[in-house]
């Protein structure tokens, strides 16, 4: 206050600034800024660097996944890799002899076993959480307990497993002789419905997809990629990692309302699924999904295999559900309603899990703040919401020991 008062009330005689201060003060300011940036970046690197894994362990997806334009991304059989992120630490991904994530081998179905093949993208894979904490692992235990039957789950979920990619390897899914095909969809799946190739946004092979988007949508995807450090390796070394950590803490600390407001700053390409009236771009994506779904459903119908689909919320959707009253012009159930209509038209069963998130206060806290995938608790919630209605769903051959 004394200094403020003095500077505010200065009279006619005023102290001149020494000549050296004209150079010293700006240099001091610059040094302070650089030092602060350096210290923060240093502590972030120290705090979030992956532990040493050993010579045979692999950090990153490159060694345990493979890509083919005919099937999309698949797991390489009998491999293990690790992922490190700012939201959580080291996560192990072990792929069995068939290239599915899990801790059991795959093979011919044994008598009396009820086999569920789980398909979809990273949610189905259980991205960012240890296998034992995934909803697939929880679901296995829950269904075994509820039905009294021997249940096994083949987790064929995969990162980059957008609907069209899933469609491409669907024959392989049928070949596993499932008693049930369970498809856990997410808003991301519909946003990237035709995606097959797992390339960086900066890669030329992704150019065709980007060209279809509006300039604003293209910029949104580029900024989103930068936000996740999804940039060419050389760029990743110079873009500060502290900003990702800062965003982690910002989104982690925000309540549902504040977080939803932040998310709704995204354009229609990213956040359009939360609108009450879906835009033409989202309607087009739904039609593309419906086309693949129709073909897949014809195949399962011919094979006599029931198929169940559901929409699991991402972090923004979970937050909006927890809010109770959504912002004007928004409807957290808009995409859910459209998907239900498509799935049931084609004869599959649709399970509603979104209402189960409504009574959970601040349910977005069960999702990683920057990454958006459900954490271990979020996976458990999803598993509970699926396990209860699944055995009682129509056309399923579960026998409930009620």
């Amino acid at each position: 206050m004394n200094l403020d008062h003095a500077s505010n009330q200065a009279g006619p005689k005023e102290e001149r600034l020494a000549r050296r201060d004209w150079i010293l003060l700006p240099l001091l300011s610059l040094a302070t800024i650089l030092l602060l940036l350096g210290v923060v970046e240093f502590f972030v690197w120290q705090g979030f660097s992956p532990p040493h894994l050993g010579p045979d362990a692999h950090l990153g997806w490159g060694s345990c996944t493979t890509f083919s334009p005919h099937t999309g991304v698949r797991g390489v059989p009998n491999t293990t890799c690790w992922e490190n992120s700012y939201d959580d630490r080291l996560v192990e991904y072990k792929f069995n002899n068939c290239g599915y994530r899990g801790d059991t081998s795959c093979g011919p179905k044994q008598p009396g076993v009820y086999r569920i093949v789980l398909i979809g993208s990273s949610y189905s894979l259980g991205d960012m959480v240890a296998w034992k904490n995934t909803f697939a692992a929880h679901l296995l235990q829950e269904l075994t307990r509820l039905t009294g039957r021997k249940v096994e789950i083949y987790d064929e979920g995969m990162i980059w497993g957008a609907p069209h990619s899933t469609y491409l390897r669907f024959d392989h899914v049928l070949h596993e002789s499932p008693g049930l095909i369970l498809w856990v969809l997410t808003p991301w799946d519909i946003q990237y419905v035709t995606l097959v190739a797992p390339v960086s946004i900066f890669d030329q092979t992704n150019k065709a997809q980007l060209d279809q988007l509006s300039p604003a949508a293209r910029l949104g995807r580029v900024l989103g990629a930068v936000a996740h450090n999804n940039v060419p390796p050389a760029a990743s070394k110079i873009i500060p990692n502290a900003r990702i950590v800062l965003r982690h803490f910002i989104y982690e600390s925000e309540g549902a309302q504040q977080y939803v407001q932040s998310y709704l700053m995204n354009g229609d390409d990213q956040a359009g699924y939360l609108k009450a009236d879906l835009s033409p771009a989202w309607q087009k994506r739904l039609r593309e999904f419906a086309a693949d779904m129709e073909t897949m459903q014809q195949k399962v119908h011919a094979a006599g295999i029931p198929m169940v689909a559901t929409l699991a919320p991402d972090r923004p959707l979970a937050a909006m559900l927890s809010m109770g009253d959504p912002p004007p012009g928004r409807n957290p159930f808009a995409l859910d309603n459209e998907l239900r209509s498509i799935v049931t038209t084609d004869g599959a069963v649709y399970l509603d899990v979104l209402p189960g998130f409504r009574p959970i206060p601040e349910s977005q806290r069960y999702f990683f703040p920057v990454d958006g995938h459900p954490d271990a608790q979020g996976q458990a919630i999803l598993s509970r919401l699926l396990a209860k209605p699944l055995p009682a769903a129509p056309c399923l051959s579960f026998a409930l020991p009620i």
């Binding site: 505010n8 309540g255 998310y263």
Partner: protein, 480 residues
């Protein structure tokens, strides 16, 4: 455009206006720049000129009344004051007036609370013969409509404004003063956009945890956080904004009065209000407390009762402080609590002095333990009263029911004791830090130290502002 808050846009706008204003020392030029900048500012906040009509009408009526008073109608001052007060209450739609009487179209009222004080001030000073100089329409509009004080004050006296705005030669503005104002702007921006944001996140989170807790989460900690944090948020938010506008005005060569003076160092609630929103309490002291006290003292002969008249005057004055802040019953109660707090404080002082005697009472008032506990109690009481400032009856009921009356009593005791300890520590630490000196003064307030703080604060505030204005990401996979 977030022009009405302490945003980057507002700061850049203010700096641009200051640069333009300083292109000439001519008072006409400076006044024209200030006037146009104020018009542009209002226009950027509200694009529809029709919604500004009621406010324009209020200002016009105020000016007409001013001219009447200047023309010798001073005997009608009381009626004019009552009319202006009524007009203000009506435009602000205070809920004790009938709903049907209000204007039923949306109109602009941001800043009206402060314009009200400025208009009343010039009317009273003119009517009582205090303001000798005739105030023309231009000067009146510049004073009442000044964009630097428009939204949230400070409430400047007209004579002080005229002293700086209208002299032939403006007050000096050298590099050192410019540097201090820029540093103050950065500090204010940091307070509003970082500190206040953090405190608000804590408050909103605590409220959500209290009303809809996560399974297994305790409620006592969120209750404590909720009880403690709002004064900190309000101080960071309000004083940060004041820092910015005072600095911007100083860059335009106008010295606005200070509005905060380390309020949490206050040793009692009366002292608190001489350190918090100083210009508001000064205005009410001048135009409500002093006249009211004089009026009641003239009517009451008993010397024994006279100290208690001070108590009554405090209650009335600070009840109006509360009432001025809002138009609903919550603010009426807020006023009761403010008035009650100050009145009880005065009553305590009067009673204690009566019981102990003058010298022992003064000795007690200097006792560090007594002062520390009084300081903590002041903080706790202010925080308690603020529930009726930021909340509503329904939410207060839910908050109260969340842990029950007994636990809330415990929480408030904990707030009192924690505030006592923390503030006592700070009062001990602050002079110690300031005692580290060179010949030029304390090292920690030297211009080199200020540059370091403001660079660090500026960087943090800038980065956070950028990050918070970016949309939250959706799921984006890393590449192979």
């Amino acid at each position: 455009m977030a022009m009405e808050t302490a945003s980057l846009q507002f700061i850049l706008f203010g700096i641009a206006a200051a640069i333009l204003s300083n292109l000439s020392h001519s008072r006409a030029w400076r006044s024209i720049v200030l006037f146009i900048a104020s018009l542009v500012f209002i226009g950027l906040i509200d694009h529809n000129p029709l919604t500004l009509l009621p406010m324009a009408g209020f200002l016009l009526i105020g000016y007409v009344c001013l001219r009447l008073l200047q023309s010798g109608w001073a005997r009608f001052l009381a009626w004019i004051v009552v009319a202006i007060i009524f007009l203000y209450i009506w435009l602000k739609k205070y809920t004790f007036l009938p709903e049907a009487s209000f204007l039923h179209f949306p109109y602009f009222t941001l800043g009206l609370s402060y314009i009200f004080f400025r208009v009343l001030h010039v009317l009273i000073e003119t009517g009582e013969g205090g303001e000798k100089q005739s105030i023309g329409l231009g000067a009146y509009l510049l004073y009442t409509f000044n964009f630097t004080t428009f939204v949230s004050g400070p409430i400047q006296r007209y004579d002080e404004f005229a002293r700086d705005q209208f002299p032939a030669e403006p007050i000096p503005l050298g590099p050192r003063i410019v540097g201090l104002q820029l540093e103050r702007i950065v500090r204010g921006f940091f307070k509003v956009n970082v500190l206040a944001m953090i405190f608000n996140i804590v408050r909103v989170d605590a409220l959500e945890q209290l009303l809809r807790p996560l399974p297994g989460s305790p409620r006592l900690l969120p209750a404590f956080e909720l009880a403690v944090v709002y004064p900190l948020f309000l101080y960071a938010n309000f004083s940060g904004y004041i820092d910015i506008v005072i600095a911007l005005a100083r860059l335009m060569r106008v010295r606005l009065p200070e509005n905060f003076n380390r309020p949490f160092s206050a040793a009692c609630f009366i002292d608190f209000w001489s350190r918090w929103h100083i210009t508001l309490s000064e205005w009410l002291k001048t135009y409500v407390y002093n006249p009211f006290l004089l009026a009641v003292m003239r009517r009451v002969d008993s010397i024994a009762i006279q100290p208690f008249l001070g108590v009554l005057s405090f209650f009335v004055t600070f009840f109006l402080v509360g009432l001025w802040h809002g138009r609903t019953s919550e603010f009426i109660f807020f006023g009761v609590l403010q008035g009650g707090g100050v009145a009880i404080n005065k009553l305590w002082q009067v009673s204690l002095q009566g019981a102990l005697g003058r010298k022992p009472y003064k000795a007690l008032a200097r006792n560090p333990f007594y002062v520390a506990f009084a300081r903590g109690l002041t903080y706790a009481w202010f925080s308690f009263t603020l529930f009726w400032f930021w909340s509503n009856w329904k939410q207060i009921d839910s908050v109260a029911s969340a842990i029950g009356a007994l636990r809330w009593a415990g929480i408030w005791c904990a707030v009192w004791l924690s505030a006592t300890a923390v503030l006592a520590f700070w009062e001990w630490l602050r002079p110690l830090l300031l005692s580290i000196k060179t010949a030029e003064g304390p090292i920690l307030t030297s211009r080199y130290a200020l540059v370091v703080y403001s660079s660090a604060m500026g960087l943090v505030a800038f980065v956070l502002t950028i990050l918070l204005n970016q949309p939250a990401p959706g799921i984006v996979y890393k590449a192979f």
